[in-house]
Amino acid sequence: MLFGRRNQREAFERQAEKVFPSLLGTALRLTRSREEAEDLTMEAMVRAYEAFERFDGSNFKAWMLRIITNLYINRYRQKQRGPHLGSLEDENVLEPVGSEEEIPDRILFDNIVGAEVERALSQVPEDFRIAVVLSDIEELSYQEIADITDVPIGTVRSRIARGRSILRRLLAEYAVKEGIIKQGAKE
């Protein structure tokens, strides 16, 4: 029993250490606060460890991301219910402004990376942000995202499309503001 528990701890740590930076990154992108992200990650680790016996052994990263996302949705969203974070019903955020054909994407994305993208991503409404982060940064499949967020796969597809469109609009606005591109420029 004692050795069983020790082996279980070692197995858990071995797998958790590999995905730990991803967990913290996702937590940071969800909460947008280092302190809350660390709390969330820590709590997710403890929950996962306590439930490790029930893990089916298939995809540890997806399982951990499911725990952290559910924790965030259940706990932190309730706490932050006051300020409006955006939702699917918010019509203003559904489509990017202006014609996307007018934005020279290659010029735009060759010059904007890392911190600027993170900043733009943090402005994307929550439901879309979760879907985009899990898909494009954590590279999960639509089915895995649907399982994690507990919504139908069609909703995941729509959230990813809208989330990326909003992100493009925000990055384009940033690029115009910083003079990386001129407004209305064509490739």
């Binding site: 858990f12 740590e13 913290l24 990650t41 994407d105 494009d136 499949s141 639509y142 990813i160 990055l171």
Partner: protein
């Protein structure tokens, strides 16, 4: 123009193979959709530039410490769960032993509590007196061989309690000026709240039920007390009479 959501799914390789083939043939004839697909790929590349290169080493250490705590808690829970009956039994035995020793072992008491010992002497019993000298023999036996009852002091009552932890022998004496009660407290090691009687260092002063009382130790350490509604000097005088 191909549906935008479908283009995103195509970029993510989330469509069935036959639908991918259909869309690819449509894209050849639709430059706007092709440009949109390229834009989606560019956004995905851009998002991949967000790396998870946060410094998580300190948090990892904290997490491991937290998991150690979880392990410790689980070990304790498991131990308690497995040996709950044994632990309960031990507690029960400890409480029973504590109660037994509390009742039977000598202990200290405050002088104000002494009256309670007498009041709680129920059922008090008077030993069978077989002859005229029996009271005096018992008097000496309880208080010590140095005690002798003079003619002017009468023993009006004798009481004995054998209740474990509260064993008391009591004599009520009368010298014509009122009763004085003399007790031997067999189960008390020490009486607190007393002060020295300045005229005789063998005795200590206190109060029993508000009445002046003189305490002293018998040769074998048993604590004795004499009290009555009279001054300390009067009690002392009577004790001196008794011990001559």
């Amino acid at each position: 123009m191909i549906d935008r959501t479908e283009l995103h799914a195509l970029a993510d390789n989330e469509l069935p193979p036959e639908r991918i083939a259909e869309l690819k043939s449509q894209l050849d004839q639709d430059p706007a959709s092709l440009a949109e697909l390229e834009a989606i790929h560019a956004t995905k590349r851009c998002l991949r530039s967000c790396e998870n290169d946060f410094d998580a080493s300190m948090l990892w250490v904290e997490c491991r410490e937290r998991l150690d705590e979880v392990d410790r808690t689980k070990r304790i829970e498991s131990f308690v769960g497995r040996y709950a009956w044994g632990i309960c039994g031990l507690f029960f035995v400890a409480i029973a032993l504590g109660g037994f020793f509390n009742r039977s072992l000598p202990r200290s008491a405050d002088s104000n509590q002494v009256a309670g010992y007498v009041a709680n002497m129920a059922p008090i019993s008077r030993p069978a007196i077989t002859d005229a000298g029996a009271d005096d023999r018992m008097f000496r036996q309880v208080l010590g061989e140095s005690f002798n009852r003079p003619q002017q002091v009468r023993i009006t009552d004798i009481g004995v309690s054998d209740e474990p932890g509260r064993r008391v022998s009591m004599f009520r004496c009368d010298d014509g000026y009122g009763p004085v009660v003399v007790l031997a407290l067999h189960d008390i090691q020490q009486v607190t709240g007393l002060y020295e009687y300045d005229k005789d260092s063998r005795y200590k002063c206190g109060e029993v039920s508000g009445a002046p009382a003189l305490f002293w130790n018998r040769a074998d350490g048993v604590i004795c007390v004499a009290f009555g509604n009279r001054a300390y000097g009067e009690i002392h005088r009577m004790l001196t009479l008794l011990s001559q």
